[in-house]
Symmetry: C2
Subunit: 209 residues, 2 copies
DNA sequence: TCGGTAATTACCCAAATGGGTAATTGTAAC
DNA sequence: GTTACAATTACCCATTTGGGTAATTACCGA
C-alpha cells in the first residue's frame, strides 16, 4: 500500500527545515513526517520509527552531521543517509561518506532535482559530484608502484593471510630461512619491524591485492 | 600554446574508433592522435607519448580493458583512464575502477556529453553513474556492527599500529596480562589465531578507523 | 538477587618472531 | 667484466606471542 518514500530530515535552520519538509510532503510518492533540528533528537526518534532516507545537514550545533552518521549507522546499519551541504567539495563531505553516508546534496538544489536524487538513492544510487566521486575512488585504488620485488610481494601476500614462516616456505617450495630473509627485506623496505605493522601498511597502502 | 586535451583511444571496433576519434578531433580543445584496437599496441605507444585522458573499451580481444588499466597504471600511475562500456551496471566497471580507472562512460553517449565528461575528468572529476558510485562507497565503509567491546576495539586499534603487549599496556594503564586477555578474546571473537590475521581482518572489514 | 558479560590480573610454557651476520648463485645493467 | 641486486640458504639468540587455566571486581538485565 505504502509505496511512498519516507524521508527523515535533520537540519538546524528552522526555515530550511520547514521548506524542505513542506516540499517533500507536497510531492506525491514522498512523505516527511520526521524533521529535527539536532542529531540527538533525530537519533532517538529514528530508532523507533525509521525512515527510508535521511537527509542530514553537515553543520549542526552539538553533534555534527558526520558524528551523527556514525552513530546512526552503528544503530541502523541499513539506513541510507544523504548529506546536505553548502560547500560542494568540502573535506567534510568525504568524511561523511567514510562515516557511512551514501551521498550528498548541495543545499539550494532545485526541488525537482532534490526529489529525483532522493528517489535515486532509494533505488540504490549514490548522489555525488564527479569531483567527490574521484576522491572516493582514489582512496581505494592501489598506490603504485611498490618498492618490493615480485617474490617479496608473494611473501607479503601470504603474510597478510596470517601464515607463518613454515607454511609460506612450503607453499613457495623454499626454506624457512629464505622466507625469513625475504621478510627481513620487506621490513627494511617498508620501514617496519613487526608482522602487525607490515600487514597494516600493506593493506592500507594497497601493496597487495 | 597547447591547451588542448590529448585523448587516447583503445577500442577494437573499427567504426566506433573512427567515429570517436573523428568526433574528438573535430572539437576545438580536444585532439585524438592515438587510437588503437588493442591494449597491447596502446600500452607500447602511450609509454613514449602519453595522452592526458585514455578512453578504454572494457571488452577487448586479447588483453581485456581491465587488465589494460592495471598494466597502464603500473607504468604510468598518473594517467587518467575512463572506461567505455555498453553494460551500465556491470561488475566489470567496478573491477576497472579497482584496477585504477577513474570513471566510465556508456557507449552511445551523445557527443556533447562525451566531450563534457572528458573535460570533467581532465579537471579532476570522475564520471560514473549513481549506482556505481554507491557500489564504490559501500566497498570502503565500515561493516558494522562489530562484535567487539569498546575496550577490545581500543586494543585492536593499537594492535594494528604494530604495538606490542607492553606498549599497549602502558598506553591503557593496565597490565600486560590484561592486554593479553583482551587480545585472546579478540582472537576468539574474530576467529583468528595470529597478529597478522587479526590486523588483516580488522582493516579489511573496517572494524577499526 | 541471580546469572551473564566486561575488565582486570596472574602464572606457565611451547612456538613463533625479529635481528644480526654471512655465504652462494644467477641475472641484468653498466 | 665487474658491479649490483634478487633469490636462496644457514646459524645463533633474545624477545614476543599465543594458548591454557583461574580468579576478582563491577555492572546490568531478568
Amino acid at each position: 500500500m505504502e509505496n511512498v518514500i519516507k524521508v527523515g530530515l535533520v537540519e538546524d535552520d528552522h526555515d530550511i527545515r520547514q521548506l524542505m519538509s513542506f516540499l517533500i510532503n507536497g510531492s506525491p510518492g514522498y512523505v516527511c513526517e520526521q524533521a529535527f533540528e539536532s542529531c540527538e533528537k533525530a537519533i532517538e526518534a529514528f530508532e523507533t520509527n525509521c525512515p527510508d532516507i535521511v537527509l542530514m545537514d553537515i553543520d549542526l550545533p552539538g553533534m555534527s552531521g558526520i558524528e551523527g552518521v556514525r552513530v546512526l549507522k552503528e544503530k541502523l546499519p541499513d539506513l541510507n543517509i544523504v548529506m546536505l551541504t553548502v560547500h560542494e567539495d568540502d573535506e567534510a563531505v568525504f568524511d561523511s561518506l567514510c562515516a557511512g553516508a551514501v551521498g550528498y546534496l548541495v543545499k539550494g538544489l532545485p526541488p525537482i532535482q532534490l526529489l529525483q536524487a532522493i528517489k535515486e538513492t532509494f533505488e540504490g544510487g549514490a548522489p555525488m559530484s564527479s569531483a567527490i566521486a574521484r576522491k572516493v575512488i582514489l582512496s581505494f585504488q592501489p598506490n603504485l608502484p611498490s618498492p618490493l620485488s615480485d617474490r617479496e610481494k608473494e611473501v607479503l601476500q601470504m603474510l597478510c593471510g596470517g601464515e607463518n614462516y613454515k607454511t609460506i616456505a612450503e607453499r613457495l617450495y623454499i626454506s624457512t630461512n629464505t622466507v625469513k630473509a625475504h621478510i627481513k627485506n620487506i621490513y627494511t623496505k617498508l620501514n617496519v619491524n613487526t608482522r602487525a605493522e607490515v600487514v597494516s601498511k600493506a593493506i592500507r597502502q594497497k601493496l597487495i591485492r
